[in-house]
Amino acid sequence: MSKGPAKTIIDITKGFAKHQYICSEEISTAIYLANELDKPVLIEGPPGVGKTELANTAALYYKKALLRLQCYEGLDETKALYEWRYGKQLLYTQILKEQMQEVLEGAKGLKDSLDRLMEFEDIFFSEQFLESRPLLQSLTSEEGNVLLIDEVDKADEEFEALLLEILSEFQVSIPELGVKKAQVKPLVILTSNNSREIGDALKRRCLHLYIPFPDAKLERDIIKARVPEVSKKLQVQLVNFVQGLRELDLKKLPAISETIDWAKTLILLNADELNQELAKNTLNVLLKHQQDIDVVQKEVPRLVMASDA
């Protein structure tokens, strides 16, 4: 990998394209930097532009396992990091109770018993009883992996604080066991839909990539890669149509994932070019709110006309 950075970045773009992920130069630069600097990447952008998919593809490209942590409100360390196996610990104490007889046999007086008890190996808090969750798994795995922390904005702010140690030092401190450091640093990708501002402390530790809606050319390339059956003409038309939609004032703008779905739908309907009737009937694939559909219905003739250009 001692090639020049520009070359490596082109390699990444090509490699991702092989897995049907068409990325802009910015995206591949971010992946390159994340690898070079061992820094997590925070990806922001509207829903459906391929943030999560980027992590999937990165895992495929680097041939590493993908560990995914989906964030939600109320997520805490017991679900993200580690948890003790209380049930097993409970059983262990019961076994211990039975064994105690043997250990203490022949002991004279309270002090002696206590000394013996102290000599006894205590594994109540040990790795055997540790249930690792995605974050810890990612750190302890020996082959390295891609860790996707999805929709980090959905988690509480306290959770962000928990992430800080992991993201900057690639280690966790477990009070009972001490510090666990990663053998192989994972490639960490965080995504956010911006439902809440991510804290500065977290942002500072990450590279920041913003993926906007793609321009027409990039979107055509994506459609070509994802839905190769689409005829050239239809491909141009549908991308222009969607690009036109994004200029309207809608509640939820159609993203790439919607364009792909729509292309697939049109293929299913055996269409090789776009017309008003077809567009009107399949709008519900692109738009997810009835209000939006109502707005767009009126605009369909204009958009279809414009899409031929």
Partner: protein, 445 residues
């Protein structure tokens, strides 16, 4: 090259992109890998490492284009061959030689060198541009060259200036233009914005009544930022209140698997009530502008405060909540002020209007905030009305935009009313307002 990066970071900070030292270090590390050769790569890389929100990325792009302005290498092709300069011996100054022989880029370099010597980084105000241009030109030795050119003109007896002189004069004009471009660019990077910061600081500590209308827009964005900061702070604090009591029923049910031993404790969470705030603003002439900022502030806080109702009065009192919820704050404030503002203040009337309008709404979770100077035009006080509000509500805050030393002078009846307030604040500047609202949120939640 490190100097370039630190300069660039300074420029970014000036465009109010927050770059921490740690991020600068990251960028240094990256640049060692990728170098400065590939412009597009450089831009992407720095954008990924240094700017952390979509808005910042936009600003970053502008700033990058400004800072790493592409050298117009096409101009290089201007013929610079020395054969065209026969009378060289007469012109000795270094600058002349450079102008005649060096490439565009070299001259650019010497401009920035001179710029550094002239401490162009210290440029703060746009009025300083001429001074700095002059200083740079002097440092480059323009005065010498001019003198020599004049001499040359005198030596030459012919009417027409010689080719050499003509050429040098042209180059000199070009140079002047380029220096002034350079200074302008440096000013954009280093100057202007610290001016803006200064202005914001002034706004914050200035008496709100004296802020000129024409700055309203800027102040508004400032207020919004302050409000956002408060909202962040308090939405965070709110979470701590969620620690509830042990939920025994759920604990037992969930712990069947552990042979009935209570390992996994279940907690019942307290439901968090967002506070209810009623704001009464005096909008008569003297206090109107305070009311404007206060309402701006409060309505920017909707993240934390969901239930807020606003009333304004001068003589009559009316509710303006819906106007504000609509979104465009500036317009709604104007309409509210024109509808209710302007009359002479009558607290007794306003209070009785308020009591008859919404005394039933007030309960032990309600905070009532009154903004006014308590100048009653020697009318009746009707403090008993305020008392009834005080008794029903959780707390009553009175914010007085006048300085404390003026309370109870003339027709001000602050003393009478303050007896029925949980707290009274002096609240004349944005900083004071911020502090008051922060206290308010702390106690109201």
């Amino acid at each position: 090259m490190e100097r370039v990066l630190t300069d660039f970071v300074k420029a970014l900070r000036n465009s109010s992109i927050r770059v921490s030292p740690a991020e600068t270090l990251d960028a240094t590390e990256v640049l060692e890998k990728i170098g400065y050769d590939n412009r597009e790569l450089l831009k992407n890389t720095l954008s990924i490492t240094l700017s952390k929100t979509p808005e910042e990325k936009e600003k970053f792009n502008d700033c990058f284009e400004d800072f790493f302005r592409e050298k117009l290498s096409s101009d290089d092709n201007e013929i610079k061959d020395s054969q065209q300069v026969p009378a060289e011996q007469k012109i000795n100054s270094e600058l002349a030689q450079n102008l005649l022989q060096d490439s565009y880029a070299d001259i650019e370099l010497s401009i920035s060198k001179a710029g550094e010597e002239a401490e162009i980084r210290e440029i703060k105000y746009f009025t300083q541009r001429a001074v700095f241009s002059r200083r740079i030109l002097d440092l480059m030795g323009v005065a010498n060259l001019e003198e020599e050119l004049n001499l040359l003109g005198q030596l030459d007896k012919s009417e027409m200036p010689s080719d050499l002189e003509q050429k040098l004069r042209n180059e000199l004009t070009n140079l002047r233009e380029r220096v002034s471009d350079y200074v302008q660019q440096q000013f954009l990077l280093h100057g202007d914005v610290s001016g803006e910061q200064l202005r914001e600081q002034v706004f914050k500590s200035m008496n709100m009544g004296q802020i000129d209308r024409s700055y309203l827009h800027e102040v508004h964005s400032l207020v919004r930022r302050m409000a956002k900061k408060l909202a962040n702070m308090h939405s965070r604090r709110k979470k701590n209140y969620r620690r509830g009591k042990l939920d025994i029923r759920r604990t037992i049910r969930d712990n069947w698997v552990n042979q009935g031993i209570l390992f996994n404790l279940r907690w019942s969470y307290k439901k968090v009530d967002k506070p209810k705030i009623l704001v009464i603003c005096d909008v008569s002439g003297s206090v109107g502008s305070y009311a404007r900022f206060m309402l701006m502030f409060l309505f920017s806080l909707t993240e934390v405060v969901s239930k807020i109702r606003a009333f304004v009065f001068s003589s009559h009192l009316g509710e303006v909540t819906d106007e504000f919820k609509g979104g465009n704050l500036e317009n709604s404030i104007e309409t509210a002020l024109s509808k209710y503002g302007g009359g002479s203040t009558d607290y007794s009337h306003a209070l009785s209007d308020f009591v008859s309008l919404c005394i039933d709404e007030i309960d032990k979770k309600t905070t009532v905030v009154i903004l006014g100077d308590a100048r009653n035009n020697f009318g009746p006080e009707k403090a008993d009305l305020l008392k009834s509000v005080y008794e029903r509500s959780k707390q009553v805050y009175w914010l007085n935009p006048e300085g404390k030393y003026r309370w109870n002078t003339g027709d001000s009846v602050m003393n009478t009313y303050s007896a029925y307030c949980t707290k009274v604040f002096e609240c004349g500047t944005l900083v004071q307002l911020e502090r008051v609202i922060s206290t308010l949120l702390k106690t109201a939640i």
